[in-house]
Structure formats: structure tokens, C-alpha cells
């Protein structure tokens, strides 16, 4: 396992994402209100680019005719069949224990710490003035 710098803090807005090749995998990095999450960019259903799907609220209900939304932009809809995945846990809404997408640990580090290492040398430039998002693959 190694940690890869994937973005500078501020680069990915809240409710936004970045999809990149990291450690031999395509990964989507998501930002929600100061927290970051990383998901493998492959839907477990039929292999679509899951991370390019639409970010939605969690849609729930207490009874027929009632619609409750929460957790804005934290549910990822696969661009193909629309299966919904929680960006925090990678679990599908429909069958959370059986259907999930792989997630990766994400951390935020100051550049000053990073220049000391260890992290995988990438072409991503790191400066001691900024903070960075890292994904562990």
C-alpha cells in the first residue's frame, strides 16, 4: 500500500470530484464539506465509470407519497443503470451488504510534511505552502 497525492486542497470543490489514474487504478476522489472520499471508478454491476455519475442527495421516505432528502451530493448514481452508492462507505443503497464499490483511505496532509516523505513520487508537484489530498492504494 502506498499513498498518492491526488489533488491540492481547494482544487476539488465541495460536491465536486476528480477522476484520475492512481496506482494502476482509475479512482474518483470526492469532496463533501471538508471531507474527502475515494472510490474505485468501476461499478460492480456492469463495469461503468461509476465515478462520473451524478451526485445526488440521499432520497428516503417515511411512507408512500413522502420524500425526504438529506446528505446533499453524497450519493453517487451510476451513469448507466442508476444504482446509488454512498460515497462515504461505497455501499449501494439497494443491497448495502452485498453490493458495494471499493473505497480507499483518504487523508489530507500539509505540504510541509509531505516534502519530507514517504509518498509515491508522482508528477504531481507539491509545495510546502499548500495542503494536499492523498489516497492510499
Amino acid at each position: 500500500m502506498s499513498r498518492h497525492v491526488v489533488a491540492k486542497v481547494g482544487e476539488i470543490g465541495s460536491g465536486q470530484r476528480k477522476i484520475i489514474d492512481v496506482g494502476g487504478r482509475r479512482v474518483g476522489v470526492f469532496h463533501s464539506n471538508g471531507e474527502y472520499f475515494a472510490l474505485l471508478d468501476r461499478c460492480p454491476h456492469q463495469g461503468a465509470s461509476l465515478c462520473s455519475g451524478m451526485l445526488m442527495s440521499l432520497v428516503d421516505s417515511s411512507e408512500p407519497g413522502d420524500y425526504r432528502i438529506s446528505r446533499k451530493s453524497e450519493m453517487l448514481r451510476c451513469p448507466w443503470h442508476g444504482w446509488e452508492f454512498d460515497i462515504r462507505t461505497g455501499q449501494s443503497w439497494c443491497e448495502p451488504s452485498k453490493i458495494r464499490v471499493k473505497t480507499y483511505p483518504v487523508s489530507v496532509e500539509p505540504g510541509a510534511d509531505l516534502v519530507k516523505g514517504p509518498y509515491v513520487a508522482t508528477t504531481y508537484p507539491v509545495s510546502i505552502e499548500d495542503d494536499y489530498v492523498l489516497v492510499e492504494i
Binding site: P64, H81, G82, E95
Partner: protein, 375 residues
């Protein structure tokens, strides 16, 4: 979470004789059809206004067009009375359906034109009369008989009233609707029926047949009766889809639905498609919080006649396994409809455990009132 199909723990099922061959002694037949012989039979149960209208407007021979009397399906040749509609002769039904098969109970599902009238008041009056006729002319004459309350779905409040009127008689074990109605049955329009049925522990039986409000297929009217009957499976599938999508079972968690005379083997493919679709579309109907397959297996049962299946017993076993549960099937003869020859009401070589469930345990779990009246 209410488990609608739990058996009472202290209940002791009757001993079955001759499970493997011969008639079905001790079984529960969940679908027999007494037929209204004519409005004359209902006259004692109609109020004076309708008696006058009967004479004036020729309100007779109002058999539902879903089962024209002479069509082969409507009566197996050895089950037809010498005269009159198949199922209209009490003695014949008693002898052929009850005595011959040796069943413990048989549930009467009376299919009659009143369920399809356009006039909701006339429908309610004739449904009331039909139910009273069933009670007096059938239930009172043989302790093995049970019945569904025939409902005027034209007006769900009137239907709920009819449930309230009869619910105290424990020989009514179910309420009856037809597969093709005015609206998909999951619609809130019908919820007064389910509220009343759930309160009284009465499953909602949906039987093949039509209210003749819409064409039987999405492509209009087929030419032949055989096509119309074959297409009934689409109605059952649409009703199930509606019940689940409208959240009826979350609103009425104790409610059970019985699909009667549906064909059975269409169900697995429908569940597979429905489940796959739901995964992607579920944000449209977020009150559906479990998979459609799980909901259907919890709340829906099916009578076995007809079992539109393959001829090879191994393939029959496979398609039954595709159903995904041994709790779904309820024994029925569908007497006097022609669905099988001789006594072959079930496919051969069914495992004994499954046989026992179909014949006795599943029906008892589905119809709690059956157990209550055994004492």
C-alpha cells in the same frame, strides 16, 4: 416487523392420508367456484327496489364474460351439471370437489357479473346479495366450505362497508377482487378495502377476470377467448407491480395478497426484471425500502391452478425453485374450471415436504381464520 404468515405455534395440522397418490385427503382447496344460477337465486337477498328492477330491466344471466359458460375452460366435461352453469349445482360440487378429493376445507370464490357493473350502487346491492346467497346456500350447508367476500370494487368505501358487514362471520376467510380493474389496485383509491381487510385479518384475493374497463392487452382487444385468458398473467403482474410500487405493504404491513388462478410460472421472470429495475429507479418511489422480491415473498401467495409448467418433472422442480420460496403455493382444484385431468391437480414427483406445505401448511398460514374454526 409483522410477519404476516407465521403459523400459530400450538396448531396441529390434520394428518394427511395418501399424500403421494390418489385424492388430496385433508388438504385445503383454496379455489372452488360456486356459480350463481340466475338472479332468481339472489332474489331473497335483494331489496324490493332491485327485485322490481330485475323484472323491468331483465337483470338476469349476469355471468361474468371472463368465463362464458360453454367455453371448455369454464367446466371440465365430467364436472358439468346436466343443466345450468358449471358450479351452480351444490350437490355436484359437494360430491366432486369436496367428497371426491377429501379436502378439509374449500374456499368459495364466486365470480359473478356484479363485480363488473358500471353502476356502483347496483354492484354493491348484487355483491351483498351474492355474499348472503353464498352464506345461506353454501356455507350453511356444508361445514367444509369457506368463502371470499365478493366486493364492489367500483366504490372502495362501499366495499369496505361490505367487509365490515360480514367480517364477524369467520367462515369468510378472504376478500375478492378481479385481476383487471379500473385502476391498478395499488392506487390509494382502493386503500379503504385494504384497511378493512387488514384489520380483520382477511387476505385480499385477486382472481383472474375482468371489470371490462380497459382492453385486456396494451395492444387492444385480441380476437379470441384463448388469447384473452392467456393475457391474464399480464394483469396479475401489473397488480403486483402496483402494490409494491405504491407502497401498499408498507402502509398495511399485515396485509396479504393471494393471486388466484394466475398460472404461477410467470412470477420468477417478473421478480427478476422488477428487482433489477427497482435498483436503478428506486429514487422515484423511495418508500419501497426492500427489494421487490423480498416484499412479494413476504406478502403474496399463489394458488396452484393452473400451473403452466413443462411436462418434464425435473423442469417443474426447477421452475418451482425459481420462485425462491416454498411458502408461496396454495393448493387448489379451481373446480369446476378445466385445468387438469382426473385427479392430477399437482405435478407428479413433488418432494413430500413441499407437497405438505402446498396442501396444508401454506394455506393455514395464509388464512388464519381457517385455524380458528377448526376447534
Amino acid at each position: 416487523m409483522i410477519a404476516p404468515f407465521a403459523c400459530a405455534p400450538d396448531f396441529d395440522p390434520p394428518i394427511l392420508d395418501s399424500i403421494v397418490s390418489g385424492p388430496y385427503s385433508g388438504a385445503i382447496d383454496c379455489d372452488v367456484h360456486p356459480a350463481v344460477p340466475g338472479t332468481a337465486a339472489l332474489m331473497p337477498y335483494l331489496d324490493p327496489y332491485w327485485r322490481e328492477m330485475h323484472a323491468l330491466r331483465d337483470l338476469d344471466r349476469m355471468d361474468l364474460m371472463s368465463y362464458p359458460p360453454n367455453v371448455p375452460l369454464s367446466g371440465r366435461s365430467d364436472w358439468r351439471p346436466a343443466t345450468g352453469t358449471p358450479g351452480s349445482d351444490f350437490n355436484l360440487l359437494q360430491k366432486q370437489a369436496l367428497d371426491h378429493f377429501g379436502v378439509r376445507f374449500a374456499i368459495c370464490n364466486c365470480i359473478y357479473g356484479a363485480q363488473a357493473f358500471y353502476d356502483e350502487n347496483m354492484a354493491a346491492a348484487f355483491c351483498r346479495a351474492t355474499n348472503d346467497w353464498i352464506r345461506n346456500d353454501w356455507l350453511d350447508r356444508d361445514p367444509r366450505l369457506r368463502a371470499s367476500i365478493v366486493l364492489p370494487a367500483q366504490n372502495p368505501d362501499l366495499a369496505a362497508d361490505e367487509i365490515e358487514r360480514l367480517a364477524g362471520d369467520k367462515r369468510f376467510v378472504q376478500v375478492l377482487l378481479l385481476a383487471r380493474c379500473e385502476l391498478p389496485l395499488g392506487r390509494k383509491f382502493y386503500w379503504p378495502i385494504y384497511r378493512a381487510a387488514e384489520r380483520h385479518g382477511l387476505p385480499v384475493g385477486i382472481h383472474a377476470g375482468s371489470m371490462f374497463r380497459h382492453s385486456p392487452t396494451q395492444c387492444g382487444h385480441p380476437s379470441f377467448f384463448v388469447e384473452d385468458y392467456i393475457a391474464q398473467t399480464q394483469a396479475f403482474a401489473a397488480q403486483l407491480t402496483s402494490f409494491v410500487s405504491e407502497g401498499v405493504f408498507s402502509k398495511f404491513p399485515g396485509m396479504k395478497v393471494v393471486l388466484i388462478e394466475s398460472g404461477v410460472t410467470w412470477l420468477p421472470a417478473m421478480i427478476w426484471r422488477f428487482g433489477k429495475d427497482w435498483r436503478g429507479i428506486r429514487a422515484e418511489i423511495p418508500w419501497v425500502r426492500s427489494t421487490p422480491g423480498a416484499i412479494i415473498r413476504d406478502h403474496v401467495r399463489l394458488t396452484v391452478q393452473p400451473l403452466d409448467g413443462p411436462s418434464n418433472p425435473k423442469d417443474v422442480e426447477r421452475i418451482l425453485e425459481h420462485l425462491g420460496s416454498e411458502d408461496l403455493l396454495l393448493f387448489s382444484t379451481d373446480y369446476p374450471h378445466w385445468q387438469f385431468e382426473g385427479d392430477a391437480a399437482l405435478p407428479p414427483e413433488l418432494p413430500e415436504n413441499l407437497l405438505r406445505k402446498i396442501l396444508v401448511e401454506n394455506p393455514l398460514a395464509t388464512y388464519p381464520r381457517l385455524k380458528e374454526t377448526i376447534q
